[in-house]
Assembly symmetry: C2
Homo-oligomer: 307 residues x 2
């Protein structure tokens, strides 16, 4: 199975309103509830692709129970979340019919105690024994040490399990030093990490600092991959319009799907780009349009890059 | 006991953000969860005043369970909510540290089926047997007949229990025709109901149409009461600044508290105005500042009004 780690799970709420006006009162016309947090998005896409997947991480409270009830409906996904005492955060995406754009409100997440963190790391080690790959995704809730991902990367490497890291800020900086197999930064994360706004230069710098393979997601420009086997660019046939939430998580799922099948890099990148674009085209965050995915897979352009 | 009815209960969330900007992403710095819906606010204030109170209405789903867990901590309050299949709505109040003002997002509430509505009315009739007064408060969730409050007013009158109605729009219009003992419209509701923006004239019109006693809340100007015993105005000593959410519900609690003690009207209005102002001064919606209440009670000015 593929293991995904979501330390800061979320109950994602999408609210549709006619128009968002600060300091006014709004009737929400439509409410959608989904399991959230980047690792859970990755897990749901992997399950939809037919890969057995186990989702671990931390969840608690009434919101955590709701997240787990929603996950229970996903065939092929095993819930191995560790229960914590604090309640799982909510995120609210307010979709404005007037602007068509989204205003995001993210709760900080529960405080995690040291005993809870140790319980999680023990569960993680046990789950690694049967994992073919592991993805560490998203932000850290309060109380989890900032070096958490560095520790989890080292544990995975010691267990011989390929490890992908998709996070930002200081947890990314520290995690990188532990030499994960695969990093998937976006353009902002690359710039924050290296100080460079040139993706080629920034990717080289990330590899120099410990990232064996770096797949940078450059929004509508697709992916730039720098691997020990070569460098590639992969892009969708045309710019797609829609809700970009979860597009990066779908790209991670595509990369992992190719990794466990030992597919060649151009195929892995094709899946990642097509899934990402098919996610932008789907109405809800963290879901993809299966028909669009089938179409897009035939149209992604992968070219070898210099460097 | 005093009975309160909240057909559209809510899980009230207060989110503090540095500044709300449409189409941006916000980290919420503080989250407060409270039982919500006007009737539950009234019930909590009555319980805090030392009156035994029973809260009925409709609640369901994970959010409903959270509301009931939060209510369980309120001493003197009996939970007699009827469980429904749809989930209790959330309301989100985004408090902006920059503007100091609040942006409100209100979910619509669950759809109530006919069998659920009949189960509620049976419970309501049973609870009326031991009630000394009843307050019908707030909006109707989808599926509840628009004439619901008219029916509940008639049932209370038939049982000889004094009934207060605090709602708006068509449910208020219909409920008024059933001749509730006490109405507590605010200035907007008065204008919507009568077409008049002159509170004196509007209150006269509401009494003509069936309201035996009308206590209009006029924001910072306090209350205007028109009763069979006379007319009064009651106002706080100075304009208070803060969060007005729940101020009207605290006024309802003050009026009911005086009603069951058979206090004279000036005393009832003093309690209502002081509780309302002490609620504006409290940091959270639906709570009041007890020290401010004790102070303000000595300072409210009640004067006889013409009419």
């Amino acid at each position: 199975m593929i293991l995904t780690v979501t330390l800061n799970t979320a109950l994602d709420l999408t609210y549709r309103v006619p128009a968002l006006r600060p300091y006014a009162s709004h009737r929400v016309t439509e409410v959608i509830e989904r399991p959230g947090g980047k690792g859970l998005n990755v897990a749901r896409v992997l399950a939809a692709l037919g890969h057995p997947v186990t989702a671990t991480g931390l969840a608690g409270g009434a919101t955590g129970r709701t997240v787990r009830q929603l996950l229970a409906g996903t065939s092929g996904l095993t819930d191995a979340l560790v229960e914590v005492s604090g309640p799982t955060r909510r995120t609210v995406a307010v979709v404005d019919a007037a602007g068509g754009d989204t205003t995001q409100l993210n709760e900080p997440g529960p405080h995690i105690g040291p005993a809870e963190w140790e319980e999680f790391t023990a569960r993680y080690e046990e789950l690694l024994r049967t994992a073919r790959a592991v993805a560490l995704c998203g932000s850290l809730p309060p109380g989890v040490p900032v070096g958490a991902y560095a520790r989890l990367v080292r544990t995975a490497r010691a267990a011989g399990v390929p490890v992908l890291l998709d996070t930002s800020g200081e947890p990314l900086r520290r995690g990188l030093a532990a030499r994960p197999d695969l990093l998937k930064p976006n353009a902002d994360e690359l710039a924050e990490l290296t100080g460079s706004h040139d993706p080629d230069q920034a990717v080289r710098e990330v590899r120099r600092r410990g990232g064996r393979t770096v797949v940078a997601s450059l929004g509508a420009d697709g992916l730039l991959a720098a691997t020990p086997e070569g460098r590639w660019r992969a892009a969708p046939p045309t710019r797609v319009h829609g809700n970009p939430t979860g597009a990066g998580d779908s790209a991670v799922a595509g990369l992992l799907s190719g990794l466990v099948e030992d597919a060649p890099w151009p195929e892995r990148l094709t899946r990642a780009v097509a899934l990402s674009a098919a996610t932008v085209l789907a109405p809800g965050a963290g879901e993809y349009d299966a028909a669009a995915y089938a179409d897009l897979r035939r149209q992604v352009k992968v070219t070898e890059a210099d460097g």
